[in-house]
Protein backbone atom coordinates (compact mmCIF):
# COMPACT_ATOMS: atom_id res chain seq x y z
CA UNK A 1 0.00 0.00 0.00
CA UNK A 2 1.16 3.56 -0.52
CA UNK A 3 0.37 6.62 1.51
CA UNK A 4 -1.85 9.19 -0.09
CA UNK A 5 -1.49 12.74 1.05
CA UNK A 6 -3.92 12.24 3.89
CA UNK A 7 -1.64 9.62 5.35
CA UNK A 8 -4.06 6.76 4.86
CA UNK A 9 -2.84 3.88 2.74
CA UNK A 10 -4.26 3.56 -0.76
CA UNK A 11 -4.94 0.08 -1.95
CA UNK A 12 -2.93 -0.71 -5.08
CA UNK A 13 -4.38 -2.78 -7.86
CA UNK A 14 -2.64 -4.14 -10.95
CA UNK A 15 -4.87 -4.59 -14.00
CA UNK A 16 -3.51 -7.22 -16.36
CA UNK A 17 -5.38 -7.14 -19.66
CA UNK A 18 -4.32 -6.54 -23.24
CA UNK A 19 -7.48 -4.61 -24.10
CA UNK A 20 -6.91 -0.95 -23.42
CA UNK A 21 -10.63 -0.19 -23.33
CA UNK A 22 -11.08 -2.77 -20.60
CA UNK A 23 -8.13 -1.37 -18.66
CA UNK A 24 -9.61 2.10 -19.00
CA UNK A 25 -12.98 0.90 -17.79
CA UNK A 26 -11.59 -0.86 -14.73
CA UNK A 27 -9.25 2.03 -14.03
CA UNK A 28 -12.03 4.62 -14.13
CA UNK A 29 -14.18 2.53 -11.83
CA UNK A 30 -11.43 1.75 -9.37
CA UNK A 31 -9.82 5.18 -9.25
CA UNK A 32 -13.18 6.82 -8.59
CA UNK A 33 -13.55 4.42 -5.69
CA UNK A 34 -10.21 5.53 -4.26
CA UNK A 35 -7.91 2.76 -5.39
CA UNK A 36 -4.52 3.28 -6.96
CA UNK A 37 -4.30 1.50 -10.27
CA UNK A 38 -1.50 0.32 -12.55
CA UNK A 39 -1.57 -1.72 -15.71
CA UNK A 40 0.17 -4.43 -17.69
CA UNK A 41 -0.76 -5.86 -21.07
CA UNK A 42 0.37 -9.41 -20.50
CA UNK A 43 1.75 -11.78 -17.91
CA UNK A 44 5.37 -10.89 -18.58
CA UNK A 45 4.84 -7.19 -17.99
CA UNK A 46 2.75 -8.10 -14.96
CA UNK A 47 5.62 -10.17 -13.55
CA UNK A 48 7.99 -7.25 -14.07
CA UNK A 49 5.59 -5.00 -12.19
CA UNK A 50 4.90 -7.34 -9.26
CA UNK A 51 8.60 -8.01 -8.85
CA UNK A 52 9.35 -4.28 -8.67
CA UNK A 53 6.44 -2.87 -6.68
CA UNK A 54 3.90 -4.06 -4.17
CA UNK A 55 0.23 -4.48 -4.95
CA UNK A 56 -2.76 -5.59 -2.99
CA UNK A 57 -4.59 -7.28 -5.83
CA UNK A 58 -4.12 -8.31 -9.45
CA UNK A 59 -7.09 -8.40 -11.81
CA UNK A 60 -6.08 -10.78 -14.54
CA UNK A 61 -7.55 -11.47 -17.95
CA UNK A 62 -6.94 -14.87 -19.48
CA UNK A 63 -6.11 -14.32 -23.15
CA UNK A 64 -3.11 -12.07 -23.59
CA UNK A 65 -0.17 -12.26 -25.98
CA UNK A 66 3.13 -13.87 -24.96
CA UNK A 67 2.02 -14.85 -21.47
CA UNK A 68 -1.60 -15.63 -20.74
CA UNK A 69 -3.27 -14.96 -17.40
CA UNK A 70 -3.13 -18.52 -16.13
CA UNK A 71 0.58 -18.80 -16.85
CA UNK A 72 1.04 -15.50 -15.05
CA UNK A 73 -0.68 -16.77 -11.92
CA UNK A 74 1.44 -19.93 -12.03
CA UNK A 75 4.56 -17.81 -12.31
CA UNK A 76 3.33 -15.58 -9.51
CA UNK A 77 2.76 -18.49 -7.14
CA UNK A 78 6.28 -19.78 -7.82
CA UNK A 79 7.85 -16.51 -6.74
CA UNK A 80 9.17 -15.55 -3.34
CA UNK A 81 6.51 -15.33 -0.58
CA UNK A 82 6.26 -11.55 -0.63
CA UNK A 83 5.18 -11.73 -4.26
CA UNK A 84 3.41 -15.08 -4.44
CA UNK A 85 0.85 -14.08 -1.84
CA UNK A 86 -0.70 -11.47 -4.15
CA UNK A 87 -4.41 -12.19 -4.54
CA UNK A 88 -5.46 -12.77 -8.15
CA UNK A 89 -8.95 -12.15 -9.49
CA UNK A 90 -9.36 -13.81 -12.88
CA UNK A 91 -11.64 -12.48 -15.56
CA UNK A 92 -12.96 -15.36 -17.63
CA UNK A 93 -15.56 -15.97 -20.30
CA UNK A 94 -18.64 -18.07 -19.74
CA UNK A 95 -17.45 -20.51 -22.40
CA UNK A 96 -14.08 -20.83 -20.70
CA UNK A 97 -14.87 -23.69 -18.34
CA UNK A 98 -11.44 -25.24 -18.67
CA UNK A 99 -9.88 -21.84 -18.04
CA UNK A 100 -11.77 -21.55 -14.76
CA UNK A 101 -10.47 -24.94 -13.65
CA UNK A 102 -6.93 -24.20 -14.80
CA UNK A 103 -6.95 -20.80 -13.12
CA UNK A 104 -7.95 -22.31 -9.79
CA UNK A 105 -5.27 -25.01 -10.12
CA UNK A 106 -2.74 -22.30 -10.92
CA UNK A 107 -3.64 -20.52 -7.71
CA UNK A 108 -6.17 -17.83 -8.60
CA UNK A 109 -8.33 -16.69 -5.70
CA UNK A 110 -11.55 -15.96 -7.48
CA UNK A 111 -13.01 -15.37 -10.91
CA UNK A 112 -15.59 -13.21 -12.57
CA UNK A 113 -17.24 -13.76 -15.90
CA UNK A 114 -17.03 -10.88 -18.32
CA UNK A 115 -18.48 -8.43 -19.14
CA UNK A 116 -18.07 -7.29 -15.55
CA UNK A 117 -20.28 -4.53 -14.18
CA UNK A 118 -18.80 -1.78 -12.06
CA UNK A 119 -20.76 -2.91 -9.05
CA UNK A 120 -19.59 -6.50 -9.40
CA UNK A 121 -16.01 -5.40 -9.80
CA UNK A 122 -16.08 -3.16 -6.75
CA UNK A 123 -17.80 -5.78 -4.62
CA UNK A 124 -15.18 -8.42 -5.38
CA UNK A 125 -12.27 -6.02 -5.09
CA UNK A 126 -13.56 -5.02 -1.66
CA UNK A 127 -13.68 -8.62 -0.54
CA UNK A 128 -10.27 -9.52 -1.91
CA UNK A 129 -8.48 -6.47 -0.55
CA UNK A 130 -10.39 -6.07 2.68
CA UNK A 131 -11.26 -2.55 1.61
CA UNK A 132 -14.00 -0.88 3.58
CA UNK A 133 -16.53 1.06 1.55
Amino acid sequence: MTENNKGTAKIRILIVDDSWLVRLYYRDTLEKAGFEVEQAINGIEAMEKVLTQTYDLAIVDINMPRMDGISFVRSLRRSTPDVSSLPALMITTEAGQQDIVDARTAGANFYLVKPVSEAELLRHVAVLTGARR
Binding site: S19, L21, Y25, N63, P65, M67, T93, D102, P115, V116
Partner: protein, 205 residues
Protein backbone atom coordinates in the same frame (compact mmCIF):
# COMPACT_ATOMS: atom_id res chain seq x y z
CA UNK B 1 44.68 -9.51 -17.78
CA UNK B 2 41.83 -11.98 -17.33
CA UNK B 3 40.30 -11.13 -20.68
CA UNK B 4 40.95 -13.64 -23.38
CA UNK B 5 40.14 -13.61 -27.02
CA UNK B 6 39.69 -16.53 -29.30
CA UNK B 7 41.21 -16.36 -32.74
CA UNK B 8 37.92 -16.69 -34.51
CA UNK B 9 34.30 -17.22 -33.79
CA UNK B 10 33.87 -20.94 -34.02
CA UNK B 11 30.96 -23.15 -34.79
CA UNK B 12 29.64 -25.35 -32.02
CA UNK B 13 31.48 -28.58 -31.43
CA UNK B 14 28.54 -30.58 -32.74
CA UNK B 15 30.63 -30.96 -35.85
CA UNK B 16 29.16 -33.30 -38.38
CA UNK B 17 25.50 -32.87 -37.57
CA UNK B 18 23.69 -33.58 -40.82
CA UNK B 19 22.05 -30.60 -42.38
CA UNK B 20 19.47 -31.96 -44.75
CA UNK B 21 15.74 -31.60 -44.52
CA UNK B 22 15.13 -35.30 -43.95
CA UNK B 23 17.40 -35.41 -40.91
CA UNK B 24 15.77 -32.34 -39.41
CA UNK B 25 12.33 -33.78 -39.96
CA UNK B 26 13.42 -37.00 -38.29
CA UNK B 27 14.81 -35.06 -35.33
CA UNK B 28 11.45 -33.31 -34.92
CA UNK B 29 9.92 -36.47 -33.55
CA UNK B 30 12.87 -37.44 -31.38
CA UNK B 31 12.90 -37.60 -27.60
CA UNK B 32 15.55 -34.92 -27.14
CA UNK B 33 14.00 -31.46 -26.70
CA UNK B 34 17.21 -29.71 -27.67
CA UNK B 35 17.33 -31.68 -30.92
CA UNK B 36 13.68 -30.90 -31.63
CA UNK B 37 14.37 -27.23 -30.95
CA UNK B 38 17.31 -27.20 -33.36
CA UNK B 39 15.36 -29.12 -35.99
CA UNK B 40 12.44 -26.69 -35.85
CA UNK B 41 14.82 -23.77 -36.25
CA UNK B 42 16.58 -25.42 -39.16
CA UNK B 43 13.25 -25.97 -40.91
CA UNK B 44 12.15 -22.38 -40.51
CA UNK B 45 10.33 -21.09 -43.54
CA UNK B 46 10.42 -24.37 -45.45
CA UNK B 47 7.07 -24.93 -47.09
CA UNK B 48 7.90 -28.59 -47.77
CA UNK B 49 8.36 -29.16 -44.05
CA UNK B 50 4.93 -27.87 -43.05
CA UNK B 51 3.27 -31.30 -42.75
CA UNK B 52 6.09 -32.51 -40.52
CA UNK B 53 6.04 -29.31 -38.49
CA UNK B 54 2.28 -29.55 -38.13
CA UNK B 55 2.57 -33.12 -36.90
CA UNK B 56 5.27 -32.15 -34.42
CA UNK B 57 3.19 -29.24 -33.14
CA UNK B 58 0.30 -31.55 -32.33
CA UNK B 59 2.36 -33.45 -29.77
CA UNK B 60 4.94 -30.95 -28.58
CA UNK B 61 4.87 -30.34 -24.81
CA UNK B 62 7.87 -28.08 -24.33
CA UNK B 63 6.78 -24.43 -24.67
CA UNK B 64 10.05 -23.22 -26.17
CA UNK B 65 10.05 -25.96 -28.81
CA UNK B 66 6.41 -25.23 -29.54
CA UNK B 67 7.39 -21.61 -30.02
CA UNK B 68 10.16 -22.56 -32.48
CA UNK B 69 7.83 -24.86 -34.42
CA UNK B 70 5.23 -22.11 -34.71
CA UNK B 71 7.90 -19.67 -35.86
CA UNK B 72 9.06 -22.16 -38.45
CA UNK B 73 5.52 -22.47 -39.76
CA UNK B 74 4.85 -18.75 -39.52
CA UNK B 75 7.89 -17.94 -41.62
CA UNK B 76 6.44 -19.79 -44.58
CA UNK B 77 3.80 -17.12 -44.33
CA UNK B 78 1.10 -18.37 -46.63
CA UNK B 79 -2.34 -19.91 -46.43
CA UNK B 80 -0.85 -23.27 -45.50
CA UNK B 81 0.81 -21.70 -42.46
CA UNK B 82 -2.41 -20.10 -41.36
CA UNK B 83 -4.32 -23.35 -41.87
CA UNK B 84 -1.92 -25.19 -39.55
CA UNK B 85 -1.85 -22.51 -36.85
CA UNK B 86 -5.51 -21.50 -36.81
CA UNK B 87 -6.97 -24.55 -35.02
CA UNK B 88 -4.82 -23.75 -32.00
CA UNK B 89 -6.86 -20.67 -31.21
CA UNK B 90 -9.53 -23.16 -30.16
CA UNK B 91 -7.20 -24.96 -27.77
CA UNK B 92 -8.35 -25.59 -24.22
CA UNK B 93 -4.90 -24.49 -23.12
CA UNK B 94 -4.61 -20.72 -22.72
CA UNK B 95 -0.87 -20.82 -23.43
CA UNK B 96 -1.39 -22.57 -26.74
CA UNK B 97 -4.02 -20.05 -27.74
CA UNK B 98 -1.74 -17.15 -26.89
CA UNK B 99 1.12 -18.69 -28.88
CA UNK B 100 -1.06 -19.28 -31.92
CA UNK B 101 -2.53 -15.77 -31.89
CA UNK B 102 0.92 -14.30 -31.65
CA UNK B 103 2.21 -16.29 -34.61
CA UNK B 104 -0.87 -15.48 -36.68
CA UNK B 105 -0.66 -11.78 -35.90
CA UNK B 106 2.58 -11.68 -37.84
CA UNK B 107 0.70 -12.78 -40.98
CA UNK B 108 -1.89 -10.05 -41.64
CA UNK B 109 -2.03 -10.59 -45.40
CA UNK B 110 -2.39 -14.33 -45.14
CA UNK B 111 -5.01 -14.11 -42.38
CA UNK B 112 -7.26 -11.58 -44.09
CA UNK B 113 -9.22 -14.05 -46.25
CA UNK B 114 -9.91 -16.19 -43.18
CA UNK B 115 -11.50 -13.39 -41.16
CA UNK B 116 -15.08 -13.63 -42.44
CA UNK B 117 -15.22 -17.31 -41.57
CA UNK B 118 -13.64 -16.74 -38.17
CA UNK B 119 -16.08 -13.95 -37.43
CA UNK B 120 -18.93 -16.38 -38.14
CA UNK B 121 -17.58 -19.12 -35.90
CA UNK B 122 -20.12 -20.59 -33.51
CA UNK B 123 -17.70 -20.27 -30.59
CA UNK B 124 -17.78 -16.74 -29.17
CA UNK B 125 -14.27 -17.10 -27.75
CA UNK B 126 -12.97 -17.83 -31.25
CA UNK B 127 -14.73 -14.74 -32.58
CA UNK B 128 -13.12 -12.70 -29.80
CA UNK B 129 -9.63 -13.93 -30.64
CA UNK B 130 -10.27 -13.39 -34.33
CA UNK B 131 -10.84 -9.67 -33.77
CA UNK B 132 -7.30 -9.45 -32.50
CA UNK B 133 -6.10 -10.87 -35.79
CA UNK B 134 -7.78 -8.00 -37.61
CA UNK B 135 -5.61 -5.48 -35.80
CA UNK B 136 -2.61 -5.68 -38.11
CA UNK B 137 -4.47 -5.73 -41.42
CA UNK B 138 -4.86 -2.44 -43.31
CA UNK B 139 -7.26 -0.06 -41.56
CA UNK B 140 -9.89 -0.06 -44.30
CA UNK B 141 -10.03 -3.88 -44.42
CA UNK B 142 -10.11 -4.13 -40.65
CA UNK B 143 -12.86 -1.55 -40.35
CA UNK B 144 -14.92 -3.26 -43.01
CA UNK B 145 -14.60 -6.73 -41.52
CA UNK B 146 -15.16 -5.61 -37.93
CA UNK B 147 -18.20 -3.54 -38.84
CA UNK B 148 -19.72 -6.50 -40.62
CA UNK B 149 -19.16 -8.48 -37.44
CA UNK B 150 -20.57 -5.80 -35.14
CA UNK B 151 -23.72 -5.38 -37.18
CA UNK B 152 -24.93 -8.86 -36.38
CA UNK B 153 -23.02 -9.80 -33.23
CA UNK B 154 -25.12 -10.68 -30.20
CA UNK B 155 -22.38 -11.52 -27.74
CA UNK B 156 -21.16 -8.63 -25.60
CA UNK B 157 -17.58 -9.88 -25.30
CA UNK B 158 -17.16 -10.21 -29.04
CA UNK B 159 -18.47 -6.69 -29.52
CA UNK B 160 -16.11 -5.45 -26.83
CA UNK B 161 -13.15 -7.04 -28.57
CA UNK B 162 -14.13 -5.66 -31.97
CA UNK B 163 -14.62 -2.19 -30.50
CA UNK B 164 -11.16 -2.32 -28.94
CA UNK B 165 -9.58 -2.89 -32.34
CA UNK B 166 -11.77 -0.28 -34.02
CA UNK B 167 -10.67 2.25 -31.41
CA UNK B 168 -7.18 1.88 -32.83
CA UNK B 169 -7.76 1.38 -36.53
CA UNK B 170 -11.37 2.37 -37.19
CA UNK B 171 -12.33 4.97 -39.75
CA UNK B 172 -15.40 7.20 -39.68
CA UNK B 173 -17.29 4.49 -41.59
CA UNK B 174 -17.45 2.60 -38.33
CA UNK B 175 -19.35 5.24 -36.40
CA UNK B 176 -22.94 4.35 -37.35
CA UNK B 177 -22.32 0.67 -36.63
CA UNK B 178 -20.70 1.52 -33.31
CA UNK B 179 -23.63 3.69 -32.29
CA UNK B 180 -26.12 0.98 -33.22
CA UNK B 181 -24.12 -1.48 -31.16
CA UNK B 182 -24.20 0.79 -28.13
CA UNK B 183 -27.97 0.98 -28.44
CA UNK B 184 -28.34 -2.75 -28.77
CA UNK B 185 -26.36 -3.19 -25.56
CA UNK B 186 -27.67 -0.15 -23.71
CA UNK B 187 -27.90 -0.81 -20.01
CA UNK B 188 -25.34 -3.63 -20.08
CA UNK B 189 -21.90 -3.19 -18.56
CA UNK B 190 -18.98 -2.01 -20.64
CA UNK B 191 -20.18 -1.97 -24.28
CA UNK B 192 -21.76 1.52 -24.21
CA UNK B 193 -18.65 2.85 -22.46
CA UNK B 194 -16.39 1.21 -25.02
CA UNK B 195 -18.36 2.62 -27.94
CA UNK B 196 -18.21 6.17 -26.59
CA UNK B 197 -14.45 5.99 -26.17
CA UNK B 198 -13.92 4.40 -29.56
CA UNK B 199 -16.02 7.01 -31.33
CA UNK B 200 -14.13 9.78 -29.56
CA UNK B 201 -10.85 8.30 -30.79
CA UNK B 202 -11.81 8.05 -34.43
CA UNK B 203 -10.36 11.02 -36.30
CA UNK B 204 -12.66 13.58 -37.80
CA UNK B 205 -11.37 13.36 -41.34
Amino acid sequence: MPLIKRDAVTAPAAGDRPDDVASHIAALSGSDAQARWSAARALRGRADAIPALAAALRVEQEPHVREAIMTAIMRVGDEASVAVLLPYIRSQDAGERAAAIEALQALPEAILPFLPELFSDSDSDVRVLATELARNVPAADATHALCALLEREQHANVCAAAIDVLAEVGTRDAIPVLKACAERFAGTPFVPFAVSIAIARIPDS
